[in-house]
Symmetry: C2
Subunit: 268 residues, 2 copies
């Protein structure tokens, strides 16, 4: 009787650990958190490997029906699968805290996260400052926090990893207006190009020379996958590049060590 928070890694069904697989196999129920990341395999692939049904858990289910999941975990073994590492998103920290408060045993199985896998581009993880996220522009919201994070990190010579927005199963504007049965918009994944645009548009407003056309950036797509694409170049150059399918992320490097400079050459 426990809640197993199991990271399943970054790419496909083979990225689960032996420990994780053992636990999901013995669990009576398996949920997959499906709104903060994306795998490159299907639900079928996972079910075939695990030998059981995988229930997709969207934001609604996780946030509103957490009590139901915790009830189940109080009387049986429940696996809650998370893409990447289970401890890298607020929702799962919350689920963990609530479980512990209710006396439900929680076991965490860690796995790769983009926050460390990003080291594959050749930058030292030690030299990254605070991570930030970039969200899709929304009417009436003028989010600039990612620009500030880049600015503060650069002032300390640190690299910034920008994680890019994912919109899955968001209610459409029309359905919110009408209060009708909810209609959902198609899933959207922010591209490197859109992330660069976002930073440039804030630069245009603020003019602080933090992120200009000439700023060196590294665009990354599908980190860890065999079709990973990484490109370094100026912001202006990256705007024109095609990184292919999701997930994308953007790095704004700080001061480069010569070994880092050397490593980055391969992405030119």
């Amino acid at each position: 009787m426990a809640l197993y928070l199991i990271g399943i890694g970054l790419i496909d069904e083979k990225d689960i650990t032996l420990r994780g697989l053992e636990l999901v196999k013995k669990a009576s129920k398996a949920y997959l958190e499906s709104y903060t990341s994306l795998l490159q395999c299907s639900k079928d692939d996972l079910e075939k490997l695990y030998g059981k049904e995988v229930i997709l858990a969207d934001r609604d289910l996780v946030e509103k029906e957490a009590d139901k999941i915790l009830d189940e975990a109080a009387s049986s073994d429940v696996a809650f699968l998370v893409i990447g590492d289970p401890m890298s998103a607020t929702t799962h920290l919350d689920l963990q805290t609530r479980a512990i408060e209710r006396g439900v045993v929680v076991e965490v199985v860690h796995n790769a996260s983009v926050m460390t896998a990003v080291g594959v581009v050749g930058l030292e993880l030690y030299k990254f400052g605070k991570t930030t996220s970039i969200v899709f522009p929304q009417e009436g919201w003028d989010v600039q926090s990612h620009y500030d994070v880049v600015k503060e990190n650069l002032a300390r010579g640190l690299h910034t990893l920008c994680l890019l927005d994912i919109k899955v199963k968001e209610p459409s504007k029309d359905s919110l207006k009408k209060g009708a049965d909810q209609q959902f918009e198609a899933a959207r994944f922010m591209t490197v190009n859109q992330a660069v645009e976002s930073l440039l548009s804030i630069e245009k407003k603020r003019g602080e020379e933090v992120f200009t056309d000439e700023t060196l950036c590294i665009g990354c797509a599908r980190i860890g996958a065999s079709d990973m694409r990484v490109k370094s170049g100026t912001a202006k150059e990256l705007l024109e590049m095609d990184f292919g399918g999701p997930l994308h992320s953007l790095i704004v490097p700080g001061k480069l060590h010569f070994m880092e400079e050397e490593a980055l050459k391969r992405w030119k």
Copy 2:
């Protein structure tokens, strides 16, 4: 014919991913980097699972004989196993860069790293600033950079993860002096207590009120393992606590969100 840089996770032989296991099984040779981290299983456990010999690679072998490993990888499949994620230490970045420069195919299999697994204590990874390391005091060296990192992170309200020193197979002072056949000192792993002492001793010299007896800290040992131990308290309190065997790490939290405060209560 490739070099597989394979992360094997944080605890024991079961933390390898299915993808990683597949590759190490098919490799003709398997090295294990054995000087930047520590597993809680034996070399035997790994060999039994992999069905092959595991060659321990100390700093000397990796740094001086990298060419030999790369030669092998140019003509056969070589697995280079790394505890945690393979991209989290400088040495491996360097090996990767050299391999690519020589035209050796490199495949990276990511895994959990303490840098993200640390989220298990209930702090948001988004709110960590630059990571730092704390090294054992050495005669003639007055390292204070970790104090500065904590100071800068705190000024921005950010948490600091301090990774603690590991000394494995270091030549003893006597053998360096005499230029004799090298004698090696016993392995040493820095404890939470020693890390707190290090920061307090710098505070004593500098008096900047960055890290005092009353500073809230979180000491962590064996993150991710079933016998993980996490304790929060003031620096003074942590000095007296016993965290058991290695590896330890220390977190100096910045500004806490109420959800983080809530989560930390369980480590009091």
